[in-house]
Symmetry: D2
Subunit: 267 residues, 4 copies
């Protein structure tokens, strides 16, 4: 049977990424409390394709994924990527996994337990060109929080507009930073964290806490950036804070990156 | 050339809806202020297919749409639907159009003008079986508003959680009810309406107004239902209120329909 | 502490549905092969609220869900709904769960195994008014398949346009119908089923099979409707077929319901 | 009234982007045929915020947008961005607009006219640091096309799987490149372009043309990259091709950038 993909290509155009996108797959993610957590991920896998090959054998991505079924976690992302460059005879390989992650939280007063969901991602690349550190891994966490507007509080006789906000943190690190640690940093710098289950005494606490801690999107992004900068394990980061404004139908947004901080300190 | 669609089908299965879905198309919508408003819609068109025909000639939907290009508004939905049943020789025809709609609003204190966007829809059906009133039209408006939690306000020393909410209103009516009228009803029953542009004096006003008018999702749905019920033009309605809770990562929801109200009054 | 929700309401407006929407939660779904399958669901829970109560205690939905954590499957949906009407003192309760579901499939020639994902839902309602059968359950399955256009094949010298399509089946039944059974019916009536992993010999088989079995969206909906109608366990159904047309940027759509079939047979 | 945003911040953290996101707004886009086209955009506007300011006055973005209402097109993006850096006293400004764009196309045989929709974007940045060329503009076009699999055609006795695909092109250029030109390049390199309206003779033509021009996602990306590289107006580009595979439930993907091409030629 003909192998069209394997034919020679003469167009002199190398392909940076060729592969499969938007594949749903069951994942097992490391969990600080329970060792492993079953979830469902959206997976993309790409390799580079040298200019002289016509196409990629896409079925090999699925074979590889199936070989690691039930063992796909942060611990063996490097192994999977290495198998990708080897099996495709490529220079670089990319593996992206996006998945909901659950953490059991206790309500602040009643201590009632409930599960909060956080959208997370592992964005990993392996390159043979980076001999000493071929693996590059970005961990991403989206943390829904509550923010209360400092301006609205300062100028109004009573109350202040507040809203659900999304904090997105992306990091590169020297050693493992738990998803739970990033969530804790994000929630500590918002006006309040969110909970799936709040009894009335908790709702009072959360409302008063948010009123006592007004934060602009800019404040949230800055405060988290400062904490991430101080963590010796973290080598790069990007923080975005996005408010689903309760007085507007558009969102307020602020972004800080570690690159931007370095520029600052050089001035 | 063979006409496969026109062949006889022997499976004895009539098709309720056959047609085209998710078609983007420029629309012209009637506007109370400016007569007509240019927008972009998502359009679906279906007819019923008698059991003895194999398929629908889908290209005819597009021909029909093109014939009415630049004149697709509430005024001629009936004309388009009638042309659909006639051209497809069908008993019923369905036309659904979803589109963003803009209204110029003035901020409450500064009177600064800005454009607010509302997601609207016309859901229309024409049936030859309903001899006297073949056209059935539902107008739908999604109104983003602000709601402030009555419970949170009552139990907290200061502040109250509030959030962006969506109010969805669907109506059938004897005569034209402007989209602008439905928006006005929704905004009047929320804790506050939203604005694209608010100066500081407006933000103070909106914050204090919302604090003075706490509303559960249930309150909003009920109050709007009462207003719609009193309008002699409106013959059927459904109201839903959905809060993007600022203390939870899930939404609070309440739904009232005119059918439910009738059940009530019969008890 | 004040209980605002529990206050009397005087507006005489009963609420059909009040509750929580769009809650992410880990689910355990019955699986014909492996007994149980871990997945992640999007959950909504509503009860009706009599006209004389001001609000719903939304936290109770979460308490209930947490009590059944790890045991939320088709088998105890009735138990959860019964607990809802009892704990909220309501007449009706609604529980909706949408989730990805995985089935291991073997490629048609190589027999290579891979996981296919299907979007499924349980839409359940419990009503005290329906004394003898208080539980009403709809099972929904979305099956991605391939369809090849009969018209394109008939009029073209070579080839025929084909595309990814979605078949949506909703059923009510007297006894358990496995999700796997509905998937099998859908895939059998399409031009071909889909697979995550196909080797070259499988791709040849699937291509030739699809070319040998051209199907309009109308054909697919009709053929599935006939099969569902013959199944004595199934008491109601709705089938929709939607083609992501490879020659258009809009979709072709066909819908058949068991109600429509009854109308037919009465004529 | 207090101006909280204007207060001094002491955290030494500059913000790269602060502003408004996901704002719906009517846009007027330059159109090669009709001079201007009314559409509806999703707009985001950001400026950088020096470390010593606490917050951004978000209402100013809206004021600026309103001042240019009815005149927001490619021609005055530079003017709007310049006004942003000036009014916010910032170093950089970002303006992103995403919008559907319609082009009238004639079917290949019948010449029947219909409107095709393309999702487009302008991604513009203005920086005072880049003295000579402060404006950086990326034009993005998403072109839905049809691709037919070369492997499937080569190994199968009859037919070949084909599907709807999305080609995404992003370019930077020395002078105006029409959206229509980018669409034409994309459609010429796919197995076939798409049409809203095709009569039977057109469907035959399109089917046979696609069968005669099989293309992998890799082929499409490469061929477009070669054309863009030869255009002297274009200084940078990125091309991605994504197939909604009709035999899989995931997509096939290929990406080529002008940077990757330069690497190649240096080897």
């Amino acid at each position: 049977m003909k192998d069209i993909q394997n034919r020679r290509d003469f167009r002199q155009v190398p392909i940076q990424k060729a592969g499969v996108k938007n594949l749903q797959y069951p994942l097992d993610v490391l969990d600080r409390e329970n060792k492993v957590q079953h979830t469902v991920g959206n997976v993309s896998m790409y390799v580079d394709l040298p200019h002289h090959f016509k196409g990629t054998h896409m079925s090999r991505f699925l074979e590889l994924l199936n070989e690691h079924r039930g063992k796909i976690s942060l611990l063996n992302i490097g192994v999977i990527l290495k198998a990708m460059v080897s099996r495709f005879d490529s220079t670089t390989a990319h593996l992206e996994m996006r998945f909901p992650y659950f953490v059991e939280k206790s309500a602040p007063v009643s201590q009632a337990k409930s599960l909060m969901n956080y959208q997370c991602a592992f964005l990993a690349t392996y390159s043979r060109k980076r001999r000493r550190e071929p693996l590059d891994l970005i961990v991403e966490v989206m943390v829904p929080v509550s923010t209360l507007c400092p301006c609205s509080k300062a100028i109004s006789k009573q109350g202040a507009h507040n809203q659900r906000s999304w904090i997105s943190i992306q990091i590169r690190s020297r050693e493992l930073v738990w998803i739970e640690e990033l969530i804790a940093i994000a929630e500590a710098e918002a006006s309040s964290g969110l909970f799936a289950l709040l009894k009335r005494e908790d709702e009072k606490y959360v409302t008063e806490q948010a009123y006592a801690r007004p934060r602009f999107a800019e404040d949230v992004a800055r405060a988290i950036a400062r904490k991430l900068k101080k963590d010796p394990r973290i080598t790069w980061f990007q923080v975005a804070s996005e408010n689903l404004e309760s007085i507007h139908n558009h969102n307020a947004y602020a972004l800080v990156t570690s690159n931007g901080l370095q520029e600052k300190s050089q001035r």
